[in-house]
Every structure is written in structure tokens, then in C-alpha cells.
């Protein structure tokens, strides 16, 4: 991973606002490699227009988050929440 990557903590704000709950501690499964991990462990590239989240294990793009003014869009790519996050 290069020095410019962040992690899932960096997209906690738009995820929480859009989904209505805290998401970084939620477990999810990557549909590309099958590994399960918490969203905070995503590798996040935040320098694109929007943030790109990749699986830390297989590096596949699993989500893209864009926020413009008050509009948040999240594109999920073969990425499944494995269990609801603890409240």
C-alpha cells in the first residue's frame, strides 16, 4: 500500500450520514475474495473526486463514495454487510 492511502475511518462521515448509523465497526464480506473484515480496515484512496474503498486483502474496489454539497452517493461493488454494526 502506498503512503497516500487512508483507511475506512476516513469515510466514516458520509457513510454514517447516508446510512443513518455508524459503519466503521460493521463487518462486511468482500465478494471478490470472500474475506471478512470491518469497514475501518478498507484501503481508501481519497484523492480521486470521491473516495475509493478497496479490500485490504485482494485490493478489489468494493465501494465508491462521493459527496457533493448535501448529496451523498455510495456505489457498492460486490460487498456485503456480514452483520449489523453494534449500536
Amino acid at each position: 500500500m502506498d503512503e497516500h492511502t487512508l483507511d475506512g475511518n476516513a469515510i466514516a462521515g458520509p457513510l454514517h450520514q447516508h446510512l443513518g448509523r455508524e459503519m466503521t465497526a460493521a463487518r462486511a464480506t468482500c465478494g471478490h475474495c470472500g474475506k471478512t473484515f470491518v469497514l475501518a480496515e478498507l484501503v481508501v484512496y481519497a484523492r480521486a473526486p470521491g473516495s475509493v474503498g478497496r479490500c485490504r486483502h485482494c485490493e478489489s474496489v468494493v465501494l465508491v463514495v462521493t459527496e457533493f454539497r448535501d448529496t451523498i452517493r455510495i456505489h457498492w461493488n460486490r460487498f456485503a454487510l456480514a452483520e449489523p454494526p453494534t449500536p
Binding site: T5, L6, A10, A12, G13, A40, R47
Partner: protein, 249 residues
């Protein structure tokens, strides 16, 4: 602009700057009065949004430096060269100004003083900020959880909260070790250079003590420390990490 906050819902809100405190040459703490603020957990962060007169907006995440028990919300911001947000926050912002923020955010990189087990904190540079909130939360709740902080900074001048961390009484239950990586005073008795195995042997809880481990700093620092803690036998689910980088400016 500022809307009435609906409980449980995350929205943008206005906070008023009460005071600005210079921590180092490059970092400032912003003390805020946030009327609609929900109580946060130690380790959480906020998103700060700036709007230019022409409507252009930019936002960044900043860790919360204050304990949930503190009277005011406090952020500590490091000025990043060519940053879009941080130079405004550290150079232009004044007491009495309003700041738009969204938070508290995050539920993974958080520590509560009721959590059993010793606390092992690793900070790289301004990665100390959320860990300072944890130490203040520990002190404010009268927790007796033993804590160790290993803080890597470039020089003594770059150590944020220097007085608070280095001049705390020895009986506080918190052991603080500082590694200076680039330069150090001649009389410096602490670690010189990067965090190495010898320093980890001397200052970090061994796996047998089952500590909760929090690592915050630049990506390279976090990767290096977390890998070595796993090699030392700490279970990965006891290791919580938060990375920041040049895009954090």
C-alpha cells in the same frame, strides 16, 4: 446552514470558536462551543467543511482531542503544506468565528474506560490527537487501567501536548515514551531514531498482558507497528488502527 439536529442523526452543525491554542509551530488546537453536540467517545473524529464565498466547498476529517468529559470540544489541526483546509484553520481562523462540522463520527477506533485490559497507544506525529482524548477520558473517569503511550515525533519541538504528556506525575498509571526520529537535544535521554524492536521490548505490553492496542499516524507508521505487534503475538482483533496522510490537509 445550521439546522436543528435530530437526535441520533448525523448532520452538519455550527460550532463557535472559543479559543485557539498553538501546540507546536505547525499545530493548533481549536476549542469549540458546539451547542448541538452529542457526547462523543474517545477516539472519534469530526468532518470540518469550509464554504468559499463563491459556494465552493471542501471538507476534511479531524480527530477530537478532548475527552467526552471536557467542558469544550477541542480539535487539534496540523498545517499541511499546500493543504486546502488546514492552513485556513491554523492561520486564518479566529475566536468568535463559526465552523461547520459533522460528528461525532466513528465507532471502531474508540476506547471506553470500562473496557477491561491494559491500554497500549502508539502515536506517529499528529496521530497523538485521538490518543490524547483516550488518556484524558481515562483520567477524567478515575480509571485505574494501566496505560502505555509510545509516541514517535520528528523532534522535541514537534511533540504535541508536550507539557501535558511529559510532565504528568509518575503515579498517574500512564507510562509515556517518546521516540525522536530526526533530531534531539544533546541531553535527550529518551529513544533516538525510529521505533525499533528494542524499544518495543522495553516499552510495549507483551502479548501475554492482552492489551488493547490503538495505533494512529501516517500510513507507513501504522503498517509498520501493526505488523510488528501481530508478529509479537497480539491478536489482530485487539489492534485498532487509524491512518492519515497528505490527503488529510
Amino acid at each position: 446552514m445550521a439546522r436543528a439536529a435530530i437526535p441520533g442523526r448525523l448532520t452538519w452543525q455550527l460550532a463557535r470558536v472559543v479559543e485557539l491554542v498553538a501546540e507546536t509551530d505547525r499545530t493548533k488546537s481549536i476549542v469549540l462551543d458546539a451547542p448541538a453536540w452529542a457526547r462523543h467517545q474517545a477516539g472519534q473524529h469530526v468532518d470540518v467543511r469550509l464554504t468559499a464565498p463563491d459556494g465552493y466547498q471542501a471538507q476534511r476529517s479531524y480527530s477530537i482531542a478532548s475527552a467526552p468529559e471536557d467542558a469544550h470540544l477541542m480539535l487539534t489541526v496540523e498545517e499541511i503544506d499546500d493543504g486546502e483546509i488546514s492552513p485556513y484553520l491554523t492561520e486564518e481562523l479566529r475566536a468568535g468565528d463559526d465552523l461547520e462540522l459533522r460528528g461525532p463520527i466513528g465507532g471502531y477506533f474508540v476506547w471506553d474506560s470500562v473496557q477491561p485490559g491494559p491500554l497500549q497507544l502508539f502515536a506517529g506525529g499528529s496521530g497523538i490527537v485521538p490518543l490524547r482524548a483516550m488518556l484524558r477520558h481515562r483520567a477524567a473517569t478515575g480509571s485505574t487501567t494501566p496505560a502505555r503511550l509510545l509516541y514517535s515525533a520528528r523532534s522535541l519541538q514537534d511533540v504535541i501536548y508536550r507539557r501535558e504528556l511529559l510532565e504528568s506525575p509518575g503515579d498517574s498509571g500512564v507510562d509515556v515514551a517518546v521516540a525522536l526520529t530526526r533530531s534531539w537535544p544533546e541531553e535527550w535521554t529518551g529513544h533516538r531514531g525510529r521505533v525499533d524492536e528494542r524499544l518495543l521490548d522495553a516499552e510495549a505490553w507483551p502479548a501475554g498482558d492482552q492489551p488493547w492496542i490503538y495505533i494512529c499516524g501516517p500510513t507507513g507508521f501504522v503498517e509498520s507497528i501493526s505488523q510488528r505487534m501481530v508478529q509479537r503475538g497480539h491478536p489482530p482483533d485487539r489492534i485498532k488502527t487509524e491512518r492519515f496522510g497528505p490527503t488529510s490537509g
